[in-house]
């Protein structure tokens, strides 16, 4: 009986190739849409998360003022940190890997005829540790350069390219804010930040040089801290907050006038956002699966007259109700699984290509493949089987007379 049903089902599929392929197409589109959207969405999430964690997930950022300002956010009125604050943190708090005070100033960098406006960051070698930023060429600051406030700089790759093109920048002399600086190193390319800013558009100079020769004060705008592996970031953050409250004479009742930011919080917020986006894409895709399902339903309903007569003929020739239904079930299962499998293959190749083009990692999610397959097969079966069930319950003569 099953063999007969399979035979008859395959014959019907072959005979009505147009109807069959349209049915399968509805499923192909639905399944492919879901898988492509979810795959690319999770790829994007993974990319963003990875980018953010490349900022250093064991990093704390300490700055005066309250609230979280993004880059270029509003300056606070709270008093700035001093170099001594960074020194106190390094001295008094345990479990830290590196502490880097920093102050920034935007300025023109000039070499020969080339002119580029960039950001100079006055800091120490610890900055390279905290930001996990290796030197591509040349060397770090020497002790004497740091203590003596020498006019030396380490360039980010963007600045290096803009000023020197293909030339070797090492030991060349460039001008920053009208002062001559010797280039002693070139940083490795870090790429764009999650916020879309160019992190390589930077020139590092010793903090003391910036203070003495450029700003004229001893303010520190941000202190970067990295925590040793295995040490609780939470604890380090609490300790730093306590120390800073003490040093800035903040009484029990007053709020902090500084801010210790944990990079993991940003990671959480941003990957949460992309996850929401992936969910949204998934929802859009689910709608397209539904639309595919409605397409299938339409085809089924349009062909219902013809199929009702077919059922009438089969019943008249002595087919049992359950034999007719089994045939229709097999038809629906074959068409929708075929559509599902083609949809999955199409979706996986398309996502593979698109992930290459969009530069996001290709993340194969077996769960979504499984769910969309099951859903589409269910849609195919429901819309293929239930109209048939109704027809198979008619008297043969009624089914034959169906208009």
């Amino acid at each position: 009986m099953l063999w007969n049903a399979i035979l008859l089902a395959l014959r019907e599929i072959r005979r009505n190739i147009m109807r069959s392929s349209l049915t399968a197409l509805g499923i192909i589109i639905g399944v492919a849409a879901v898988i492509i959207m979810v795959t690319l969405g999770s790829g994007a999430t993974a990319k963003v998360t990875k980018q953010i964690s490349s900022l250093g997930s064991n990093m704390l950022l300490i700055r005066p003022g309250q609230g979280m300002h993004g880059p270029g956010g509003r300056q606070s009125t709270a008093s700035a940190f001093k170099v001594e604050d960074a020194e106190a943190i390094a001295r008094d708090i345990s479990g830290l890997e590196a502490v880097a005070p920093s102050a920034t100033q935007s300025m023109q960098a000039i070499y020969g005829n080339e002119n580029w406006s960039t950001t100079a960051v006055g800091t120490t070698n610890a900055y390279l540790e905290v930001r996990d930023w290796p030197i591509e060429k040349g060397r770090r600051f020497s002790k004497s350069e740091l203590h003596g406030g020498k006019a030396v700089c380490i360039l980010g790759s963007t600045v290096g390219n803009k000023l020197f093109g293909g030339q070797d920048p090492l030991n060349a002399t460039i001008r920053l804010k009208k002062l001559s600086f010797r280039v002693i190193g070139l940083l490795k390319t870090k790429g764009q930040s999650t916020f879309g800013t160019d992190r390589d558009d930077i020139a590092l100079i010793p903090l003391r040089t910036l203070h003495r020769r450029i700003t004229g004060n001893t303010n520190v705008s941000v202190i970067y801290v990295s925590v040793l592996d295995g040490v609780s970031i939470e604890m380090a953050k609490k300790d730093i907050e306590r120390l800073m409250r003490e040093r800035r004479h903040i009484s029990q009742r007053e709020d902090d006038d500084f801010n210790v930011m944990d990079m993991r919080e940003i990671v959480k917020i941003l990957s949460g956002t992309t996850r929401v986006l992936t969910g949204l894409l998934g929802a859009v895709a689910a709608v397209s699966l539904l639309v595919g399902g409605i397409g299938i339903m339409n085809i089924m309903l349009v062909s219902v007259t013809e199929r009702t007569r077919e059922i009438g003929i089969r019943l008249a020739l002595g087919a049992l109700e359950r034999e007719v239904l089994l045939q229709f079930l097999v038809e629906a299962v074959v068409l929708s699984s075929l559509g599902g499998i083609i949809g999955i293959m199409f979706a996986l190749t398309t996502s593979l290509v698109l992930s290459k083009v969009l530069l996001v990692p290709f993340i194969f999610n077996i769960g979504i493949v499984f769910i969309s397959f099951i859903f589409s097969v269910a849609v195919g079966i429901i819309f293929g089987y239930f109209p048939a069930r109704k027809a198979a319950r008619l008297d043969p003569i009624e089914a034959l007379r169906h208009e």
């Binding site: 007969n4 035979l7 008859l8 014959r11 005979r15 009505n16 007569r309 077919e310 009438g312 003929i313 089969r314 019943l315 008249a316 020739l317 002595g318 087919a319 049992l320 109700e321 359950r322 034999e323 008297d395 043969p396 003569i397 034959l400």
Partner: protein, 239 residues
């Protein structure tokens, strides 16, 4: 299956006070108004009568395709009205062959696959199915048309595919609703002779609706319907 009809002394087909009513209220239509009919095994009955007199309705009931509104139908002594849908389907499968007035073929399906269909439901293996179907198509003069779909055939050719489909199972009873309605006189004669041969050589009982008296003259018995009633039932000399 033949055994059942042999042992029983009763007629193969027995209809008692059968009426069929379509619609209700104003639109009520009495297609059959209480008919009685007995057909014995091996008979060849021609059913005649004006259009709308209830011939097809009666044949559908005999073929277990439809159920009477009132009255009983005994087929081989079995009260069909008491059977389930599946049991009636099995009667159709094993004992009945039906040629519809409007053929009722699967349009996009080849002639041979149309003819094979009742054999598939009987569970015959593919090779036998194929051989029997080829034979039946040959018998109705459609050799060489096996792989044309029903939709590609002329009305007369479709009618002959429908006849082949009905005779391929060699049913106990063959019910044919105007089987020559679309055939030219030459084809009509060939077809009716084929049916007569079937009746004579294989003992297949035939009930055939026809409008033409010379077709009816091949039958052993003719019945006349008028307005849902049997008005004339006579035995006749076969030519």
């Amino acid at each position: 299956m033949k055994a059942i009809s042999k042992i029983s002394g009763r007629p193969l087909i027995e209809i008692k006070d059968v009426s069929k009513v379509y619609g209700q209220g104003q639109a009520v239509m009495h297609a059959l108004r209480g008919i009685n009919l007995q057909i014995t095994n091996g008979d060849f009955v021609a059913v005649m009568g004006p259009s709308g007199s209830g011939k097809s309705t009666c044949l559908n009931i005999l073929g277990c395709l439809d159920t009477p509104t009132l009255g009983t139908y005994l087929f081989m002594g079995i009260d069909v009205g008491k059977l389930t849908r599946n049991q009636r389907a099995l009667l159709r499968r094993h004992y009945l062959g039906f040629v519809f007035q409007n053929y009722n073929l699967l349009k996009r399906t080849s002639s041979i696959e149309n003819v094979e269909l009742p054999l598939i439901y009987r569970g015959l293996p593919a090779a036998e199915r194929h051989a029997y179907s080829l034979n039946a198509l040959k018998a109705v003069g459609l050799k060489g048309w096996e792989h044309h779909t029903a939709g590609e055939l002329s009305g007369g050719q479709q009618q002959r595919v429908a006849i082949a489909r009905a005779i391929v199972t060699e049913p106990t009873v063959l019910l044919a609703d105007e089987p020559t309605g679309n055939l030219d006189s030459e084809r009509s004669r060939e077809t009716i002779e084929l049916l007569a041969r079937f009746n004579r050589d294989k003992g297949i009982t035939i009930v055939m609706v026809t409008h033409e008296t010379d077709m009816a003259s091949y039958a052993k018995r003719s019945i006349n319907f008028i307005d849902g009633l049997i008005v004339n039932d006579k035995l006749q000399e076969t030519s």
